[in-house]
Symmetry: C2
């Protein structure tokens, strides 16, 4: 799925080469993230196949014990040799490629290639429909690494905000999801999170010490700044490609701390899915066959639609 071009699926492309140390994986199910339409419009300058949420089967690998296993993957493929890779997992390796985002073809394809060290085997008790959420759920759980204690307000009831609310709730955090869509807020409530309409919020009364920005819009960031108490923490989860941000004077005046938070530990997400403390499946809006991946991408951008999955039938 190239910028403005027709979708590139593996039947249109040569079968991807498999470099040493990497595995070839047959995609079973892939998910579409809000970043994908942004990437399709040119964000990051990505020119390959999109898709970074997947579950699949290993077809080929240097380490034969991977072959035949059902896997998900850490999308950050670091160089494997720099201090960030050796000491911190490579999410900030300056030479990394990122599946479907940066210099590496993604999962909206019959097959994908990823370093074996990025693979994680999926336990049998975790279904494909759960496992395909491993990557976004790991990103949602990563909020816990930036949050020490106390109640959290999550702003944005899109798929990322919902997943963050469910992840925090599953971890026992006192969480309130704030959004515009009663039916989406209902999904959070069904799993025990507090959820309220944005129009019912009064910053003077409801501003908290920890807010998570997951709206994906510049207006949402401005609202999140209002919802942060002086000396509070605002965790930024959504990139807003291309747009400028609101004036940051309130960050200085109110001495806020803004913490950027991106990818998390895939194995942590698999553990949560296995324990069942978070069930992401109610977020699935629709499924498309791989041949209709471009329609799926368009559908995922429509208002009110949550997770769109693409299956390799």
């Amino acid at each position: 799925l190239l910028n403005g071009s027709p979708p590139r699926l593996s039947r249109d492309l040569p079968r991807p080469a498999r470099p040493a140390g990497e595995a070839r994986v047959r995609m079973r199910l892939a998910g579409i993230c809000d970043t994908d339409p942004q990437l399709a419009r040119g964000y990051m300058g990505h020119e390959g196949v999109l898709g970074h949420e997947f579950v699949g089967d290993v077809l080929e690998a240097d380490d034969a014990s991977w072959v035949g296993r059902r896997v998900v993957g850490d999308i950050n493929a670091g160089c494997g040799a720099c201090p960030d890779c050796l000491e911190r997992g490579g999410h900030h390796c300056p030479r990394r490629t990122v599946l479907g985002i940066l210099g590496r073809n993604g999962a909206l394809s019959e097959e994908l290639v990823l370093p074996e060290r990025c693979l994680r085997a999926v336990p049998d008790s975790v279904s494909d429909e759960q496992a395909v959420f491993a990557e976004p759920l790991a990103a949602a759980l990563h909020v816990l690494d930036a949050h020490s204690a106390g109640p959290v307000t999550v702003l944005g009831d899109g798929k990322l905000g919902l997943l963050i609310a469910l992840a925090l709730r599953g971890a026992g955090v006192d969480v309130t999801l704030v959004g515009h869509h009663p039916e989406k807020l209902g999904l959070a409530r069904a799993q025990g999170a507090r959820a309220i309409l944005e129009r019912d919020i009064d910053p003077a009364r409801d501003a908290g010490d920890v807010t998570v920005e997951a709206t994906g819009s510049a207006a949402g960031l401005a609202r999140a700044l209002e919802l942060c108490r002086p000396r509070g923490t605002l965790i930024l989860k959504s990139t807003v490609a291309g747009e400028t941000s609101p004036n940051l004077a309130p960050v200085v005046v109110n001495e806020l701390t803004l913490v950027g938070s991106r990818c998390g530990r895939i194995e942590g997400a698999l553990e949560v899915l296995q324990r069942g403390t978070v069930d992401p499946r109610p977020l699935i809006s629709e499924r498309f066959p791989l041949a209709e991946a471009e329609r799926a991408l368009a559908r995922a951008s429509e208002k009110g639609v949550l997770k769109v999955l693409v299956e390799n039938g």
Copy 2:
């Protein structure tokens, strides 16, 4: 000095009333800050006399022991009763007024009024020319509260950036000041700080773990984001009134922490001035009599000018 109006000095105004618990102070020397021209253009909606950097003599106070003492002041006049006032000094009191900034006439006047609890006596060994820097130096030293360890890069060689570099250097921090003006960088070098021209910086080589943004421009903020290593900390010191900010996607992608930092402890600044570990006097560009306060304000906005002082002769 009102928005677009002629300067309001005390001879044009009724003598300010002195509410209970507040002191009347005769201004000796006042400093002009980069925020002042912004306030004059409408930032914060301030409609009174400008000026929040001063040293003066107490003329009247409820507590007679203040009368006749030479003082500087904490510019944040909290309500004195809320949790923020009782537990944290009131810098974030929701009902605060702020000298020359928010709901309280400032120091560019013959006399000013400030709660007695905001006053700090100036030691005899500290001159007026040093003491007038107590407020901005306290704000500069406050960077230390957001910084745990390691080298710091300060971006911006205006009066705030310079003062921050000197404050960090005086505290033993390994600091590099980055700016555009060789003569200003020279002032930092003269007190032991490393200082380099912005054009000699290569983010790939020079990005550090802790950066301080003190440029006062949206372009400076964008540059500061580049100069932060992944997982690094960016301390925001300057408000940029009215302007939007650059896209914050790098904050998320590189998982940066942005910390807003405003006012500091005035008594900490007086201690530093008394010990002499920081000498702010080389930053003084020019002095004007109070009758020429408006000219002083215009002069302070000119390129290359550092601290402009106004004296009540």
